[in-house]
Amino acid sequence: MAIGSDTQGTVRRPSIWNDPKTRAILYQAIVVVILTLFAAYFINNTAENLERRGIASGFSFLSAPAGFDVGMSPFLKYDPATATHGTVLIVGILNTLLVAFTGIILATVVGFIVGILRLSPNWLVSRLAYCYVETLRNIPLLLQLLFWYVAVLGSLPSKRESISLFDTFFLNIEGLFGPLPLPQPGFWAIPVAVTLAVVLVFAVNRWARRRQDATGQQFPVFPVSAGLLIALPLITAAVAGFPLEFEHPQQNRFGLRGGMIILPEFAALVLGLSLYTGAFIAEIVRAGIQAINRGQSEAAHALGLRPGPTLRLVIIPQALRVIVPPLTSQYLNLTKNSSLAVAIGGAEIVAVFAGTSLNQAGQAIEIIAITMAFYLAVSLLISMFMNWYNRRIALVER
């Protein structure tokens, strides 16, 4: 029976209090008012408490000189003489993003390889993958970080006995030293060439697929792409006269200085994070692959596809739909876990900004709020990207 239908003739409108729509609006308004009052009370109370205890507040500390060194700042030159707490924040953010980015890529590579190996028909290989997953998954990350930092990287040779590779790379307890590329005039041509090569590779790919769809003939896409990617920038560089010089690390009385350095704190953090998260990703990948009906691979085999292409063309694309949502969580975990760097002297946002700056400036509430806002923003961005990717690869039903 249709409520309020015309067939009934006159319909008595319910009183305004009994109208569900009005009531819903009213209740929501009440909740909003209470929440606002609550928030106002807390903010006011906090401000009062801060004032009574003589604690300064506000964000002006961001432009006050920081006066300390942050230890690692690969993207911008950090000078303790001029840096402000704002600079520290930026350095912290960049370092966190670098750790998260490197960690996510490494963890994904490790996770996919181990996840696939875990399903290998070879007993030894699958057992090894199994051991890796179970060991790393079940030990707290903090312990693993300490293990990598103290036990593994801490036992690197002293700076007097650096391990040297081709006299260009040096490894000792202070880190891995290598030449730092210094772009010279005319260097711009090389990134342009790289971009061009990438565009060409995409074009060749498309053309090859179309041709295969139309004629069934296969084109050696991989060697051609690789050739393009290597040759084009190389030829450009040669034409421009190799506009790149290298700053090599120099030995001073304390050890090697200058050049490019990968600090052991950073290495331990990235290693620990990606191997730990990689173990979880491996399980997600395994679950994703096993979620695909056996019939799919049987059908692929029946078509004459070898195991490699079967995995690449049939199984993985379908498995991704199962893999991507939990993978997003792992990416978020990795990003947030990077804050454990404080334990091993890392220099990301929690260590330098929510740590040192907080202590020197003393503005806990503002600094913690900024740090939380940063993590929230990064997490939401990762989620957004992964959700977009998930929609893109979702099964298109016709």
Binding site: G54, I55, G71, I173, F254, A343, Q360, A364
Partner: protein, 338 residues
Amino acid sequence: MRVRSVVIAAATATMAFAGSAQANLLDDVKAKGFIQCGVSTGLAGFSAPNDQGKWEGFDVDVCRAVAAAVFGDAEKVKFTPLTTKERFTALQSGEIDVLSANTTWTLTRDVNLGLEFIGVNYYDGQGFMIRKELGIKSAKELDGASVCIQTGTTTELNLADYFRTNNMQFTSVVFEKADEIRVAYDAGRCDVYTTDRSGLAAQRSLLKAPDEHMVLPEVISKEPLGPSIRHGQSEWGDVVRWALFALVIGEELGITSDNLDSMKTSANPEIRRFLGVEGEMGKQLGVPDDWAYNIIKQVGNYSEVYERHVGVNTPLQLERGINALWTAGGIMYAPPFR
């Protein structure tokens, strides 16, 4: 979740939720029955747990003296180990009543952080420790060195200032806890370890081979170390301040934990006032009249505390230096007890 985030989160929350009415902290402490004292996470001689897990040290004894004054029992203290990073937040938020953790008295901390420094129990200065094998004789030769430091300290700021003033470069390796730094320095991760000279002495005594390391002659800063309380707690501040002074006055008057009972019969009116035989000094402070007696009886005087934890006969081997009494060439001085 890690302890430090919990502390900071709790502290931030406390500031948001703390009620507006704030009672007299001295009364609160008396009602609570013990003092909550913030100390460092472990610095030999200053505050570190002993074999039985009991906190011991120079900074620890300040808190024990306050407990002796308030409760007549130096054991009525609970200790909260705090990293340099957490310590101020813990005090601001009311998690601890006194902070006695090798903290340098600076203007910013006194004025801007909601703290109140109430005295100095150790006059210190920042120094540098290096390996002897480097063959360096002066801090001026440290250009290009990597330096291990503890985060959240004045040390960190002085270091940058000193290297900038002398036009030298350094790379810092930053840790949160004193023992993390010691391990890194011992492993050779950095060339130089910098902190207050008392701290260097403490850490050096714990290195694998203390004799292979030396402290450079330069003292690059003034580091008056002392206890602090929360801003705006005057009555409580008076008690902590005078408990600290009582240690020094005890030494000035020649009163030790051994001769204290015989001193009660002394004719010196200051000694008689000090031991609570005459006058009502305690009442004015809001504590029992024999408060200073209890401090010396249970904790000892300044000299006893010093020699027990950091003096020349301890692994730290610190001479009294400027921490000697003003009458003995130092600057340790307490206002008159009257």
